[in-house]
Amino acid sequence: MLEIKNLHAAIDGKDILKGIDLVVPKGQVHAIMGPNGSGKSTLSYVLAGREEYEITDGTITLNDKDFTAMAPEERAAAGMFLAFQYPIEIPGVQTTTFLKTSVNAIRKQNGQPEMDALTFLKTLKAKAEKLGVSDEMLKRPLNVGFSGGEKKRMEILQMAMLEPSFAVLDETDSGLDIDALKIVSEGVNALRGPDRSFLVITHYQRLLDYIVPDVVHVLAGGRIIKTGGPELAKELESTGYADVIEAA
């Protein structure tokens, strides 16, 4: 379970998040929608521990662990995963090597033995196949020369390999055509389960047709101004954010 209490965060001295309270129970999918500049991406970075963002007040806990002062790698080991809106290209680091390093780094931090090479490759192959990630992509440097859709599928593949207890999907739908959107959504839905929760950040309702949330929140001006069921997303799609923001 993720619990965010009175979260305030700033970058370069500028306040972005201005008091967020949010609880995502185990097994649930929550969506965060909001206009540009409302703080959606900041929230995802702050959850994953990006150091440029300063938490000026409030707390984040995941499964009763205080995340507020933890390093990004410690958060990952404790079950946090962020699917990036813009996955980073890392020339010179082969995708498979990266995935293996990542899986074993998390296992090591959790006191588990390394995954042996054969098990790792078998697991990777099975999961990659489901997401339409080719062997050729796995041999290339991480995200280098990947299309927008390939990058997003690679994010979901990483999530599938790392099996986090909490995943933030930051505008995973951006830059995807409808076919890629389906593949990515199926990948996410396959990971839904009683012990895993998701925070799906999106600008558009479209993604939520495929990944149906339990709860929808509207973020504006660094605060959650409205919370509702899946129907709230549809309402936003037809009326736009302006009405909701005004009403709040």
Binding site: G49, E51, P72, E73, V93
Partner: protein
């Protein structure tokens, strides 16, 4: 002005500077040059970033032939069936350093003045004045040769002055691997000079690892003359030296010749490391490539000066130069100076240069996947050095990459 002797060749098949009288005229003329001009000062344009005052003050004496305290077999050889030579403080201590004598190979006249080309080339003169010994490799068949130069430290600073002559006959493929390593406490400085000739359509891969500890002054001048359709590819990994400077002067003498210098300078603590390159396109349709990657930590100072000189006759030249630097500390500094001097009108020359810290975005990306910060940095730096050595044979490439990995694990201060 007196002309400095330039193209030294052993006087007999049986001795390379083994007798005090060998090369006597060369030494005395070089010594006269040295006395007249002195050690280069930072007032000279090409010496702006590197100051040899400390080296001069050390007042090193010419190295004596040392006793070897180890078995040469235990040295870090890379290739199983290579011909192996060991020099200690510039003197041959293992192997046969005079591999066939076939006379001069290149017919292109030698008329340039190394004093000018080697940036007021006192290093060249200094080597000539005190050269004691060195490999003379006059190759008439394909070969892989490994040379290990061991600097055995001494209470009073000594100066080793190995002189290397490499001549590759037409159409051959040769690989020459040089390692400069340190042994023992104390100091022996090194000032190496290398004369290389690659005859028509021959291909020489020359690999140099300079790993001589952190207390010494390590200098070298490499002069390569490359004939029609021939290739000279120099790969280097520089790790050692309190102060080091390596100079290259590569001459593309005839059509279709290719020269490359690719390497990494890994610099830490209070080290100062300098790579200075001059590539001369003296014929049409020649290509050159300079790819330099630097990693600087601590209070380190790095220097790269790279010049492409395209003669009027050298149409269709393709000259490439790229220097990338990662700074791991804000106390470190990097000086880079690209120079293009072009007299032909149909040429393609490019140069690029980047200096910066490791990017935050990829670092955060790797850490968000559970990879600890130190390991994420190491991965990114390994990737930064990346493909530099990819064109080399696997065992050589692996040895170089392994040494890079060791430095990344332990060398960064």
């Amino acid at each position: 002005m007196m002309t400095l002797p330039t193209r030294y060749r052993p006087e007999s098949a049986h001795g390379f500077l083994q007798n005090p009288t060998d090369g006597a005229q060369w030494r005395s003329e070089a010594l006269a040059q040295l006395k007249a001009r002195g050690i280069p000062s930072p007032k000279l344009e090409r010496w702006r970033y590197t100051n040899l005052a400390g080296f001069e003050k050390a007042n090193a004496v010419p190295a004596q032939k040392p006793e070897l305290s180890f078995n040469p077999i235990t040295l870090p050889w890379m290739v199983q069936n290579s011909r192996k030579l060991v020099f200690a403080n510039g003197y041959l201590v293992f192997g046969d350093a005079r591999l066939t004598l076939g006379g001069h190979l290149l017919e292109v006249p030698y008329d340039a003045d190394p004093m000018e080309k080697f940036n007021d080339g006192m290093l060249w003169a200094l080597n000539t004045a005190f050269m004691q010994d060195g490999p003379y490799l006059n190759l008439h068949e394909d070969a892989t040769i490994e040379i290990i130069h061991v600097g055995l430290g001494h209470d009073h600073p000594q100066l080793a002055s190995p002189r290397t002559v490499i001549e590759i006959a037409a159409g051959l493929n040769a690989t020459i691997i040089e390692q400069y390593i340190a042994d023992g406490a104390g100091v022996v400085h090194t000032n190496a000079a290398l004369e290389i000739e690659v005859a028509a359509n021959a291909n020489l891969k020359h690999i140099r690892i300079q790993d001589e500890g952190y207390t010494r002054t390590i200098l070298s001048s490499t002069h390569a003359r490359i004939a029609r359709g021939a290739t000279y590819e120099h790969s280097f990994l520089n790790i050692g030296g309190a102060l080091s400077r390596q100079e290259f002067w590569m001459e593309l003498l005839e059509e279709g010749a290719h020269a490359a210098v690719k390497g990494a300078q890994l610099v830490t603590g209070r080290q100062h490391m300098d790579t200075t390159v001059l590539i001369e396109h003296a014929a049409a349709n020649c290509t050159s490539n300079q790819t330099i990657r630097n990693v600087l930590a601590g209070d380190a100072v790095g220097v790269f000066q790279g010049k492409i000189h395209v003669h009027k006759i050298a149409q269709k030249t393709d000259g490439y130069q790229l220097c990338n630097t990662v700074m791991l500390s804000d106390r470190a500094s990097m000086n880079t100076k690209p120079e293009l001097e072009i007299y032909a009108d149909d040429v393609k020359c490019s140069h690029g240069n980047t200096v910066g810290a490791l990017d935050d975005a990829p670092l955060f990306y790797l850490r968000s996947r559970g990879i600890p910060e130190a390991e994420a940095r190491r991965m990114m730096l390994t990737a930064f050095i990346g493909d530099l050595f990819d064109a080399l044979d696997d065992n050589i490439k692996d040895a170089l990459n392994k040494r890079v990995a060791q430095w990344l694990d332990h060398g960064i201060v």
